[in-house]
Symmetry: C2
Subunit: 198 residues, 2 copies
C-alpha cells in the first residue's frame, strides 16, 4: 500500500529537524487537507522567507533589508558586540530587554567532527568590524558546550591584537533550577563566579 507522491511528501517532512516518521505522516495528512488558499499561504510563506531573508551587512544576523532590525534601530550601542552562534540566540537575548549593544552572528561553531572550520563561520566579518570601528567590549555568548567554548577561546585569541576587552557570559545555576540536579561542572563554575550579596 504505497502512494508514491504521499511517500515522497512524508520523506521530505522527515528531513525536518525533530520530525520522526509518525509526525511526518501527521504533517503530510494535514498539508493534504488544507484548503487551496491555506496551502498557498503556506507555500508562499516558505518561498517568500527564502527570497527575502539574507544576512545583515554588519552583524550577519538575519535581515530582510540591508541591515537587521537591531543594527537598524537608532538606540543600540554599536561599541558593544555580543557574539552568538545563531540568529535564535539573538532572539533569546532580545527577550531579556536588558542588552542594548549590537550582535555578531557566527552561524555555527567550529566543529571539526562536523567538518565546520573557522572559514565557514562569519569570523572574517567580525575581525573587519573590530578593525574598522571603535569597539569597547566583545561579549562571547556562544553556547556552554565543548564547541561553543572552543570557538569562544579561538576568537578571543584572534581578537587579542585589537586590544579590546573580551568577556564571557556568566556560568552558574539557572534561576528556578535545583542545586540537587545541577551537574558538578556547573556547580563548580557557579562557586567560582560567586558574588557578594549587597
Amino acid at each position: 500500500m504505497q502512494i508514491a507522491s504521499l511517500a515522497r511528501l512524508v520523506e521530505q517532512l522527515e528531513r525536518l529537524p525533530g520530525i520522526g516518521h509518525k509526525s511526518a505522516q501527521r504533517l503530510a495528512f494535514h498539508l493534504l487537507n488544507l484548503s487551496e488558499k491555506e496551502a498557498e499561504s503556506f507555500l508562499d510563506a516558505v518561498r517568500e522567507a527564502r527570497e527575502k531573508i539574507h544576512e545583515c551587512a554588519v552583524c550577519c544576523n538575519l535581515a530582510d533589508q540591508e541591515l537587521c532590525p537591531v543594527c537598524r534601530a537608532g538606540n543600540r550601542d554599536a561599541g558593544l558586540i555580543c557574539v552568538v552562534e545563531d540568529p535564535r540566540d539573538v532572539m533569546a537575548l532580545e527577550r531579556t530587554r536588558e542588552y542594548m549593544g549590537s550582535y555578531h552572528v557566527l552561524h555555527g561553531t567550529i566543529s571539526p567532527m562536523d567538518g565546520v572550520g573557522p572559514e565557514q563561520l562569519r569570523i572574517k566579518q567580525l575581525l573587519t568590524r573590530v578593525a574598522e570601528h571603535d569597539i569597547r567590549e566583545i561579549i562571547m555568548a556562544t553556547n556552554p558546550t565543548v564547541e561553543g567554548e572552543a570557538t569562544a577561546m579561538y576568537l578571543s585569541k584572534l581578537l587579542k591584537p585589537f586590544d579590546v576587552p573580551v568577556t564571557r557570559l556568566a556560568y552558574g545555576i539557572p534561576v528556578g533550577g535545583d542545586l540537587e540536579y545541577a551537574d558538578e561542572i556547573t556547580l563548580r563554575r557557579s562557586l567560582e563566579g560567586r558574588s557578594r550579596i549587597e
Copy 2:
C-alpha cells in the same frame, strides 16, 4: 526585532499539528538554510502530493489513481469491509499483514462538539457500496473513543436494513502492556471478551 517574512513563516509553521512556537522557529531556520535544490524538492513534494492525491472511488482511502492501492490489488476480499476513521488507520492495519479484506475510510467521526455531522463523513458512499455489492461482513474499526464508539453505533443502525453482519474490533489489554496500569474500562472489556485457552 521583527522580520516580517520570517514571522509569517513561523506563524504558518505553528499551524501544523504538534508544532509549537520553538519548533516552528527551528523548522523556519531549517527551511531558510536549505539549498535551492533542497527547497524546491520540499515545495514540489507538497504541491505534487496535493495535486495528485484524492479519494479512492470505492473506499475513500487516499489514492493517486482512480482506485487506492488496496482496492487495486487483485488479492483482496471485496466482500469484507473494515470501516476506519482515517487513512492512517488503513496503514496501521496493513502493517499487521493479517487483514486481506477491503476498507472504507470515513475521514473523521461524528463529533457534534467539533461541528462534524454524519453528512461530512463518507457514510453515503459506504451505504451505496453495501447496497450495490455483495458484502459478507462489516468490521467497525473506529477508535475506542466516545466519538469513535458513537459513530460505530450510528453506522451499525444505518446498516441494519442491509442484513449484513456488523462486527467490532476486540477490546482488551494491549500486548506488552501492564495490567496494573490498564484503566478499569479496558479491564472490564477485556474480562467480558475473555477467550478459552485451547
